[in-house]
Symmetry: C2
């Protein structure tokens, strides 16, 4: 594990495309020397290999006699860099042509295009961060809401690692007592007080369980809370989505504009990501709720956590029928929250809204077209998203690899607990204790981690990180 | 002109979107202090306002108690920065969410979103670069070929400015002699040797003319050499374009991929940009070349500098007719270079190609489908692009504002020359000399430049530069 390539890797670290500045990153023993060979300082002779770490240098990047660009070079010296190696960041003009010329110049001179996440992999291998922190780096970069960002930042800064460290420390103390008994097993000694041990292991199980339970929330914050909008095709679903989307877009404004279009049904409301699921045509071909089950709509509702039941105020539907339909959906999905929404309130007189409210007390009435009452919906959604949990400092697990390891650790700990109650011999207990330690350690990479796992983790990174 | 806002401006300097790193730039008297208020060093208390210029600092960016991101802060102190002001670059994780949070944090605390090009405008106003260099910054960023890049880099580094400085210096010497005569005009003295003056002015005119003449080349390198492909609809035009495009794409590969699609008929061949112009349907509705004139195709050929005349080898067309058609086009466009291309050579036996070559000696034969003979075309195009001119150190004018100023200077200088030959009095000569000085000075911004002009120039910049 500790041996790895010492070659110089290079990659564009900023988003591809044209901008004022682009950053090209090189890391490796020879990174500074390599850049120095092609750097001509603006202020007389300057040897980048001899400058202090964390300094910036203005000059020209040269391909023989040709100036490729005027650049600003940041020098970071081993071990005080992101990767823990010698690291150089070249800030060049943000033209695609220049980015390409610079990367090709250094590749011709011995550097190698970095794989996705290879800079962070090197940081992990040099002990600059543990595995769960490294994974959080990718989450920080891809976070697109306040909630997912907060979980990722906390994890990157080592909040989760500290909690795991404490857990493992307690488990190690426990293990050392059991292992001690093993050493003296012939003498049939019992060093560890079984009652104390039982108490400790139950406490550990409960802590791991709390982390496990946080995953559903973490997953939801990371991937968005799935919301299905149910309703007749002309109930105004897309108008409502567009209004919500525009609210969102207005906030992220100029910065996010370009990346938003592809995922236009992901909407951030008060810092929480909601993933709106298409359920077009719930009542295209049928009037009875029972038959939903055979349509794709059914599958989509199945995936959702919240259901917005959209009613077209203009359709003059019988309110008792509506109430019955909503109750039927609720019976079919007892664990999903249904919010009835009366849209197109611009089409009916105010007193008519009250008649809806009598039968559907949770009803939110709005006009997507006139952008009236939208805040009532966004407030309800925010409230349901349970922001309270987030503002506390509770650790939230959001990575499915961590969830799996915690689940395995939980199972092994339960085996230990059962074994204690059954008075199993120490050698059998020790197997499960070791397994739970190994599982907890795999999250931060404290045990030997195999290359395949690392490859899996870092391949999801963008190149340049 | 020297008074301008001292407020702190902020902008994202890297391309928008998700990447490993993003740079947010702040400039202004209070920029360092402002960032310092929200910066928490990783290494104990650190006051960014007291650190040395050109240093890098790792820490957390804080919004009160909340960590927005772990960032790397570059500090540049007035006057040693890009803008000549206190300048801070914040390298943060490249998530759109984080970029937005950071920019909004500082806007809430007194910074202002920068206008396009405002950083470079400030650099100009602080005398860090002249106007033609500032304009070259935008050209460097948008350059997408070796040729346009080289022209822009040379201009940014001040090559053009130096040439203009010399020209103006000579003109000033001349002007001071004339102005001296004006001071003593009552005494009817002639200080300046008219023969010397004539020689000098003719020399200046010739130098300005050389710069003016370089514009057609500069413009072509900047915007691409316009090439029209003429031929029957099924002659294989789009296959040929795709093959050329893929060759190009293969070189820029991963880096440029995303930005290329929109301009897919702009193709870089050996470092020179070619702009292929659509002439679909040249013979859709007619057999006679004479009738081209009334179609859109005519306008497009008009815009082109090179014409590729594509012949479908499979169509078994009469070669004499072909030769006649090509001659007719050549007569109609005597200044355009026509390259006859025999495509689909895979469909005919080799000896048939020779029969085409007898009548059309310049013929390039290829098979776009099989990617055979493509290099013959790219070599011919490169040769015609006259790369030789580029490799010399001749200054090439590529900016139409500069071209206009040079044209005006040229006109004024010719007036001076005529005036000298006509023995006009000094006061009349002085008017034209001052005008030519003003025109040359407007290129580098050495004379008072009005706000409207500056606005015009910098609005084309991307925000963040």
């Amino acid at each position: 594990m500790q041996e790895f390539n010492k070659d110089t890797i290079i990659a564009l670290a900023t988003p591809s495309g044209v901008g004022a500045i682009a950053i090209i990153r090189l890391s490796g023993d020879k990174a500074i020397a390599l850049v120095n060979n092609h750097f001509q300082s603006k202020f007389g002779d300057k040897d980048l290999t001899k400058v202090a770490s964390h300094t910036l240098h203005l000059g020209n990047l040269m391909d023989n006699d040709k100036v490729i660009d005027e650049v600003l070079v940041s020098v970071f010296k081993n071990p005080n860099s992101y990767t823990g190696e010698n690291l150089v960041e070249i800030n060049c003009h943000g033209s695609v042509y220049i980015q390409q010329e610079i990367i090709q110049l250094f590749i011709r001179n011995g550097a190698r295009q970095a794989d996705g996440g290879e800079f962070t992999l090197r940081a992990f291998l040099h002990g600059k961060m543990d595995l769960s922190q490294a994974e959080a780096v990718a989450d920080v970069i891809s976070s697109n809401s306040a909630s997912s960002h907060q979980i990722a930042i906390q994890q990157m800064r080592g909040g989760f690692s500290k909690e795991l460290f404490t857990l493992r420390q307690q488990l190690l103390d426990f293990a050392s007592l059991i292992e001690l008994e093993l050493d003296f097993s012939e003498e049939d000694l019992t060093f560890a007080d079984r009652t104390q041990l039982r108490k400790l292991i139950d406490q550990l199980i409960s802590q791991v369980k709390t982390l496990l339970d946080s995953f559903s929330l973490g997953n939801v914050f990371k991937n968005g809370i799935p919301v299905a909008i149910v309703g007749a095709p002309n109930a105004g679903k897309s108008t409502l989505l567009n209004v919500l989307l525009n609210d969102d877009k207005a906030i992220v404004s100029e910065i996010a504009g370009t990346t938003r279009d592809a995922i236009e049904d992901d909407i951030t409301i008060n810092g929480v990501l909601f993933r709106f699921i298409d359920t077009a045509g719930i009542r295209d071909t049928t009037d009875t709720v029972e038959r939903i089950g055979i349509t794709k709509t059914f599958e989509n509702i199945e995936k959702a956590q919240l259901i917005l039941y959209l009613i077209d105020a203009g359709s003059q539907q019988n309110t008792t029928t509506l109430q019955k339909e909503i109750l039927q959906i609720q019976e079919q999905y007892p664990h999903k929250k249904i919010i009835p929404i009366l849209n197109k309130t611009d089409l009916i007189p105010y007193h008519q809204i009250s008649t809806y409210k009598v039968l559907l007390p949770d009803l939110i009435s709005l006009s997507a077209k006139d952008k009236r009452g939208i805040h009532l919906l966004t407030e309800a959604l925010s409230q349901l998203a349970n922001l309270g949990v987030l503002s506390s400092n509770q650790t939230i697990v959001s990575n499915s690899r961590h969830y799996e390891a915690l689940t395995n650790a939980h199972t092994a700990l339960q085996e230990v607990s059962e074994g204690l109650y059954k008075n199993l011999p120490s050698d059998l207990l020790a197997i499960d204790i070791r397994e739970s330690l190994r599982q907890l350690g795999s999250i931060t990479g404290d045990f030997d981690v195999d290359r395949d796992l690392l490859g899996n983790i870092f391949q999801n990174f963008c190149v340049g990180k």
